[in-house]
Amino acid sequence: MGVLAKRKKRDGAEIPTSSMADIAFLLLIFFLVTTTIDVDTGIGMTLPPKLDENVEPPPVRERNILKILINEQGQVLLEDLPSSVAQIRGEVLTHVRNMGRDLRYSESPDKAVVSIKTDRQTPYNMYIQTLDEVWMAYFEIWDNEARSLGFLNYQEYRSSLDDPKANEIREQWPAQVSLAEPDPGA
């Protein structure tokens, strides 16, 4: 018994650490291979909260709403006029930047609402294209505003903010996109 204990102590077992780097390398290669650094991109939206059925939605004046209708064939109706997807951006720009001048467009940017309505059979692709045009119009406005403040673009303005909630451009030019409940269609 005594002999055995003595022997163990003398050996002073040490784990070789020379292979540590190799093990780490192997793990590193595994994680390098499995990592996907593709950033998820998309069009961000905030859905309206569920409405209380007893509460009436706030009244919005007709002139402040820019109505975009897309039917199941993917045809666009802009303020009751047949038009194309490419025309949406310009129309949104004039609508939001109207400042009450033209009676057909909005009173002021913060009151302007863009409403998108589709049929249930409308292709999703058309809806995204429409939404994309609307957001591109807003991006253009924000970029312009940021440039007038002396920034390169809106992105630079946003990253310069200490508090992302105190975004003056967004406050003055809020993007109010309303997604209307689609018609049941045929």
């Binding site: 390398f25 950033v39 294209q129 409940e181």
Partner: protein, 150 residues
């Protein structure tokens, strides 16, 4: 010339003692950033193309909703189905409870809608109305950058 020979005589050696540390640092970086794909997508979701894209910075808040024609055997596609996590949801009203429990676990939840470009608005509307019922209001229509230009 003499100057050069002098240099070659002194043999500089880079110490490799810190090599394991550097490797460990890299290892830890990749371990932290790795998201292992834990689910198999059972529907086709060819994303639409768009320009006005924003990036989702916080990937850990994201929950995916896949919508598109179901992948069948033999390269065929079936009806349009909705998939959350690793299961196809047949009864869309279940989305409400699923999303609500996700929202309770993570209040900053972002729902990324990975919807096939050939599906229609009807199914999207149904999913969205369920999301509104659950209170999961931050959504993102996942789309690709249009690389063909304008």
């Amino acid at each position: 010339m003499a100057h050069f020979t002098k240099k070659s005589k002194a043999k500089p050696q880079i110490s490799t003692a810190s090599l394991p540390d550097i490797i460990f640092m890299l290892l830890i970086f990749f371990m932290v950033t790795t998201v292992l794909r834990e689910q198999e997508v059972q529907v086709r979701a060819v994303l639409p193309m768009a320009e006005a894209l924003t990036k989702i910075e916080q990937k850990r808040y994201v929950s995916y909703v896949y919508t598109g024609p179901e992948k069948l055997r033999g390269n065929r596609f079936g009806d349009i189905k909705v998939q959350i996590d690793d299961a196809i949801i047949d009864d869309l009203t279940n989305i409400r409870t699923i999303m609500y429990s996700k929202l309770v676990a993570e209040p900053r939840l972002i729902v990324s809608m990975r919807i096939d470009e050939e599906s229609d608005m009807g199914v999207l509307t149904d999913v969205q109305s369920e999301l509104r019922d659950a209170g999961a209001l931050r959504i993102n229509y996942s789309s690709r950058r249009d690389i063909t230009g304008l």
